[in-house]
Chain length 204, copies 2
C-alpha cells in the first residue's frame, strides 16, 4: 500500500508547486517544463499522473484552491456571532498574509478568473463556483447576524456580500504595487466606516 501513498504524495507535490507557479506567472505564461524544473521531475512522470495541462489545472482548482479559499475566507466567519467584526478580522488576516507575499487564495482565485475570462468557459465555471460558495456563506452570515441582533435588518444582504467581495478583490489587485501596507490600512479603515451603516442600531 506504500505505492498508493507515494502516488498521492507526488500528485500533491505536483499540484502544490503548480498552484504557486501558475499564480506567479499566470496559466498561459507557464509551461509544464517550468513546473517540472521546480520539482526536478520529468515529463514522463507528469503525464503519467495527469492527462493534460488543462485537466491538471482543474484538479488544482478543485482540490487545492477550493479548500484553501474555504478554510481562509469562509470557515472563519461561518456560524460565528457578530459577523461584521469577524469579516473585518478575516479580511485583515488575509491581507496580512498577502502583505508578506504569501499566497492569498482569494486573490489567486480572482487572478484566475481574470485570466480565463472569455477563454475557457469550462474552467471559468469551476472558478465561479468557488466564488458563489463564498458569496452564499457571506449572505448566510449576514442573515444570521440580523437574527442575532448584530446586523441592521433593513440592509440587502446579497448586495452587501457582493460589495464586500468586490472591494476585497479590488484592493488585492491594487496591492500588487509597492505600498501594500498602507493600502491594507486604508481599506480596513473604510470597511469599518462602511460597516457603521450595516450594523444594528440600538434604539436609544
Amino acid at each position: 500500500m506504500e505505492k498508493q501513498l507515494k502516488r498521492m504524495a507526488t500528485m500533491q507535490r505536483i499540484q502544490t508547486t503548480g498552484l504557486e507557479v501558475f499564480y506567479q506567472k499566470g496559466y498561459f505564461n507557464t509551461s509544464i517544463d517550468d513546473i517540472l524544473k521546480e520539482l526536478s521531475l520529468s515529463k514522463g512522470a507528469f503525464y503519467y499522473h495527469f492527462q493534460s495541462k488543462e485537466e491538471y489545472f482543474i484538479s488544482i482548482v478543485q482540490n487545492l484552491l477550493f479548500r484553501k479559499v474555504y478554510s481562509t475566507l469562509i470557515e472563519p466567519i461561518e456560524g460565528q456571532e457578530d459577523p461584521l467584526n469577524k469579516i473585518v478580522v478575516c479580511f485583515d488576516n488575509a491581507l496580512e498574509t498577502a502583505e508578506h507575499n504569501f499566497l492569498d487564495y482569494g486573490f489567486v482565485l480572482s487572478n484566475f478568473i481574470t485570466e480565463f475570462n472569455g477563454k475557457n468557459p469550462d474552467i471559468m465555471n469551476y472558478l465561479q463556483d468557488i466564488l458563489k460558495v463564498w458569496e452564499v456563506n457571506l449572505v448566510t452570515a449576514l442573515q444570521k447576524g440580523k437574527s442575532d441582533g448584530f446586523v441592521n435588518r433593513h440592509i440587502d444582504s446579497e448586495a452587501v456580500a457582493t460589495y464586500l467581495i468586490a472591494s476585497y478583490i479590488g484592493i488585492r489587485t491594487l496591492m500588487v504595487e509597492g505600498n501594500s501596507k498602507m493600502l491594507r490600512y486604508k481599506y480596513i479603515q473604510q470597511l469599518r466606516q462602511y460597516f457603521r451603516l450595516i450594523e444594528h442600531k440600538e434604539p436609544a
Copy 2:
C-alpha cells in the same frame, strides 16, 4: 504629406484592434498573427511600424488606454461640484458600457495589471501610472468637495479614493459572469449607502 497621414492611420488601426484583441484574449495568449489576421495585414507591415510585441503594447497603453481611462473615468469628475454624485454617475455609466460588453477601460487596465504583475516591471510601471493619475484626481475632487461643502471634512480623501477604485475594479471582475445587470444595480446601491457617510452633514 499624405504618407504621414497614412502612416498615422495604419498605426492607429493596428493599435486599436490590438487593444481589443489583447483585452479579449490576454497579452500572452494572443499572437501578433491573431491581430494581423483581424486586420488583414502582413507581418512585414507590422514590424515596419513597431519594433517588438512589447514596444507595441506599451505604445497602446500610453496612447490609447491612458487617454480612454482619462476621458471616461477622470475627466467627467474633474473640477465638477458635488463630486460624490458625479462619481456615482460616472461609475454607473462605465458599468453600463461594460454590461453591453463594450470596452470598459478601467477594467481593461485592471486586467492588464493582473496579467503583468510580477512578470514585466517595465509595463507594470506604465499601467500603475494610469492608476495613480486616476487616484490623484479622485483625491483632488474629494478635497474640492470638502471646500465646496459637499463632502464631510473629517473623511480621509486618500483612503476613500483607494476604496472607490478597489470596489470598482472588484465589481468589474465579478461582472464577467452572467448577471452583470444585477451586480451593477447592487453595487451602485451600496456605493450610495457608503456615500451617506462621506457626504457633508448639514448641522441641524
